[in-house]
């Protein structure tokens, strides 16, 4: 047997099943084998950069506007990830499909899309009349709404104050010594607060307690408490209505329960479409 049909097939010079003396079946079997060879050992798909950045990289690659280094990086990722290559092929197919189908929207839909730009009325910029209108007494309903809003702001302020002083959130247990709270001279400037990586959550005592409480009894209130604790520890905002169940990585749960090895500093949370909020160690 000659290597000729193999090389011809590999470099794309032979049609499937027509490589040299091979029958169609042999040609296909050879293709399957060669595919495994060129794919090699797949590595991980690389970091998730978010949809906008991924679209930008892909668009630049396909446009041929990436610089040499960025192109080489991107191609290295493609070589080692069949999944990325699949996404690339699907994206090209999508672009071709879109280019072949130019269709104008119905007039009413176009008008609705343009109307999205209609700005809300603003007192500023309407001159003297706006100032006068702003100063005039408002209807009672508006005043009542303003009062409610003020009360809500005050309530949020009290809530924040309570959270800043953890001792004030619960009464001391019997026998527990109540130490004076540390004197807070000033809040740290925002620049000193280290932003958490995307999706990372600090494993605070409150989070640990809420996780264990939920595991002990996965009741509605405990579920909400846990979501609240996660949010305060830096979790991305999850709509509690979309969270059906919370599952904890068994290894993480064991570490939280046993406390016989060092706990992770951060955990990660991901919400699936079917409402499973999964917590796992971010070690």
């Amino acid at each position: 047997m000659s290597m000729e049909p193999i090389i011809e097939r590999l470099i794309g010079r032979a049609e499937a099943g027509e490589a040299g003396s091979l029958t169609p079946e042999e040609g296909r079997a050879l293709s399957q084998r060669l595919r495994a060879l060129v794919d090699g050992d797949p590595a991980s798909t690389g970091p998730d950069r978010g949809p906008a950045e991924e679209a930008l990289r892909l668009a630049a690659y396909l446009d041929g506007t990436l610089d040499a280094a960025a192109r080489a990086d991107f191609e290295r990722e493609l070589v080692h990830s069949p999944e990325r290559r699949d996404e690339l092929i699907a994206a090209v197919a999508w672009l071709d499909q879109l280019a072949a189908r130019r269709e104008a929207p119905p007039a009413d839909a176009l008008q609705r899309a343009m109307a999205l730009d209609t700005p809300p009325p603003q007192p500023r910029g309407r001159g003297f009349a706006a100032v006068v209108e702003w100063l005039l007494p408002r209807p009672r309903l508006a005043i009542a709404t303003s009062a409610l809003a003020t009360l809500a702001i005050a309530a949020v302020g009290v809530d924040i104050a309570l959270h800043l002083s953890p001792l004030a959130t619960r009464p001391p247990a019997i026998g527990e010594t109540l130490e004076p709270p540390p004197i807070r001279t000033h809040l740290p400037p925002p620049s000193t607060i280290r932003p958490l990586p995307q999706g990372r959550i600090l494993l605070t005592a409150e989070t640990i307690n809420a996780v264990l409480a939920y595991q002990e009894q996965p009741a509605e209130q405990r579920r909400l408490d846990l979501i609240g604790a996660l949010a305060r520890a830096g979790s991305p905002a999850f709509d509690a209505r979309n969270v059906r169940v919370i599952t904890v990585q068994p290894r993480l749960l064991e570490r939280l329960r046993q406390r016989n090895e060092r706990l992770p500093a951060e955990i990660a949370a991901s919400l699936s479409l079917d409402g499973n909020l999964r917590l796992e160690s971010a070690d």
């Binding site: 090389i7 070589v79 879109l98």
Partner: protein, 356 residues
Amino acid sequence: MLRAVLAGRPGAWAQFVQQCQSDVYAACCIAFPGAQAKDEYVAVMAQLRANDFALLRAFDGRATLSAYLRLVLRDVLCQRVARLLVDAPDRGWRAFEHFFKRDITRIITRYFPAAAEAGRERDIYHDVVMALIENGYRRILAYDGQGSFGGFVLRIVNNLCVDLLRRDVPRRRLPAAIQRLPALEQEVFRQRYWEECPPEQLVAAVRGQGIAVDGPEAVAAAEKAVRAALPANFKTGDDDRPRMVSMSVAANPADDPLEVADDRATPEEEATARQHEDTLAQASGALRAAIAQLPGDVRLYLQHVMAEDPAPAPRDIARRMGRPATDIYALRQQADRLLRQALREHPAIKSLRLSV
């Protein structure tokens, strides 16, 4: 224009809508069948404005705005299809199938290239779709927001095709002597005897299968144990499983009730087949080593060639690699030259006396 939109200049949004109206509407028509496309069009436009134009603001001029916008639209529509699958499963599924049908079919033809000719393509598509639907779309709804939804769906379809392929071609069984050995030795056997992995790549190959290896010494010891466990002169195929044999009996049993045609291969045919298999196995090892040495762009070119059956045309590969077609012909020549050179010098090929 985009700067004007982001700055909120009067009339800029209307101009933007006019400019990209057909792209956005066509995208909505591709994703959502029928009258739904009209409402989706407005919703997608609203999504482009969401969070102070977050999606448009991310554009930094690295690519053309139209290419970026079209890819962003795909992602936005994917997300909307996923959401619809949760909120209104029936409508969601129709949109899902409408949106992903081409991709699913493409992946099926990659794994089952002969299915179209044998008329099995629709059956396999049906099997894949049923697996996606079963248990209330369990597989699809497991998406947790990591990576793109489109990529997640492609991954599921790939995995389903691999499962179907395994069902069609049952997995090979390890010889009894190897089954008694630990996991490392079993993997070493698979890599050496089934995958024809060259010894120098064995450690990486075993690690690639998720088996922890202390070092080359551990793998060498495992290989020794495998050789000791196997009978002398063992060859792949000695562990053949039982085969189905058709029994063509004479039409009239009275003629010759016991005469059964023997359709097994003759000893000569078996010897030729074994020789052919050996040749291919050695060539595979040589090729694996040669491909690993190729520059990244050449290897990527080969991967694009092998991604479909029949191989995509050079102009399609050029499109996928964002290069002019002339570059693709140059890559092909480079691949040809480098592979022949590497194989010519490879000891396995020399000993086989294969012409390159």
